[in-house]
Amino acid sequence: MEFKVSLGPQHPALHEAVSLRMTLEGEIIRDADLKLGYSHRGIEKLAEERTFTQNIYLTERICGICSHSHTTCFVQGVEQLMELIPARRGLYIRTLIAELERVHSHLLWLGVAGQEAGFESFFMYTWRDREVVMDILDWITGNRVHYAMNTFGGVRRDIDELQKKKILDSLDLLTKRTEYYLKIGANEPTFVGRLAGVGKLSREDAIALCAVGPTLRASGVPMDVRKDDPYAVYNEIPFEVCTADSCDVLGRAVVRVKELIQSYKMIEFLLKNLPDGPFKVKAPRKVKPNEVYSRYEAPRGENVHYIKSNGSDKPERLKVRAPTLANYTATIKMLKNGFIADIPLIFAAIDPCICCAERLVQLDNPRSGESKVLSFSQLRTMANDHYKKVNLLKKEAVWPF
């Protein structure tokens, strides 16, 4: 009894489209395959036709959740090509926005994880508290999502004393709320039970499949571009690389929550040590022929831009590798031999972006109406039997805080 199921690309509630096609045998996913291209627009070709300045805004719109990640990655690459040393205050502000973005992104993820478990109130509360970060970003940068802060040589806006104070005040609130959510997570037995042991990705597999970000760190590999290849001012800020050894969805949640707390500390440090001076320096329009490889630790993992210039004001080649793409191969691995009931959580765990996929389940090439429905219900009962067996194991899993 083998048949194909495809998830996506329709997604009634949010985000863009990816389609996952699986071959099922009973309730077990024997083979999985991702179909991309629903969101492919052709940015890399477009970038070759745009000037460097225009490309800042183009790269910003590669993605709406970590818009600052892509611009920073691009801008610091081009600064190297220009042999430009950016203003120090500018770098501090750049890093500050980057950490604020990480906070907003991880909080968003927390809410989505709750939603995947059908915990709507939890979703509502995390998103309400996320508005605090959004307000700060709105206030500093002039927009809630696309901050447009980066420019060659620094940032475009300064931060004043009043803003500093407001951010510090908000941090207290956020820290308190994060701890509260931790408590909820730790005390909600069904929640922990549904996360632990799901979506296993061993250390070896994670490395071999070139996973990045929390997905990789949750498999016990302490890779973090901020430490390995420091950019901006990360070599001046104290912070720890957060890892977990459980290699499952629970581990990925733990890594993210730990990173939230690290980020609060980093934001505080950055604000208290903000250097005086100009926040940007003037940049040339044309760039000498050269090439650069720029790395950045986005909330979801390593983000990579390869930029080649040819002496004009447009890049010769811009190659972008967004973190989610790097995790797809690992996701397929996690899904294989897994159970169909866990798909939403496994997807949510690499990134909230594509978990929308599970909103449309559709059976491909059915033989007759009757048999396919039957097989699906059988499949589900089998999955249930499986869960009865593993239930015991999961009960022992505890939130490691």
Binding site: K45, I207, A208, C210, E291, Y293, T329
Partner: protein, 156 residues
């Protein structure tokens, strides 16, 4: 092991397999190799120097040739491992047997540049839409896109 030490090692131990190596920038080493030596060098870097993480594979259209760059990282350094492949016969070997995570990037190269990846485990199209015409490779420099006219509803 820092970048300099890695550079020394590459220059010392596999000098015969590479064409040239250079420290291009802090923590960046650029290594050029022949197409045929790619797998051997990759395996050496991975096994001896822990370059396990393949961030991505970039293709660049140089006119006569395509340059294919493998971006490999370990915890201190990134190596830009590059090969050339002639436009007339754009073939590269698949590296999936050394680094399984390369599959998506190789499929992307096939879509975008029309490179033929030999022994690729999964040759299907990755990004372009289902009815994309055969033989059109958008990231080649000689491929130009003609914009369709934009219709604004409600007339002029």
């Amino acid at each position: 092991m820092n970048s300099e030490a890695i550079f020394e090692k590459i220059n010392g131990e596999i000098k015969d397999k590479i064409l040239e190596a250079a420290i291009a920038a802090p923590r960046r080493i650029s290594v050029k190799v022949e197409r045929g030596q790619l797998l051997a060098v990759l395996a050496y870097l991975k096994d001896q120097l822990q370059f396990t993480h393949l961030a991505t594979i970039s293709g660049v259209d140089l006119g006569e040739n395509f340059e294919v760059i493998y971006h490999l990282s370990n915890d201190t350094t990134t190596i830009l491992l590059r090969i050339l492949t002639p436009r007339a016969e754009p073939k590269i070997p698949s590296v999936c047997q050394v680094i399984p995570g390369a599959i998506l990037y190789e499929r992307e190269l096939q879509d975008m540049f029309g490179l033929l990846v030999e022994n690729i485990p999964d040759p299907r199209r990755l990004l372009l839409c289902d009815d994309w015409p055969q033989g059109q490779y958008p990231l080649r420099k000689d491929w130009k896109f003609n914009r369709p006219a934009e219709i604004i509803p409600g007339g002029k």
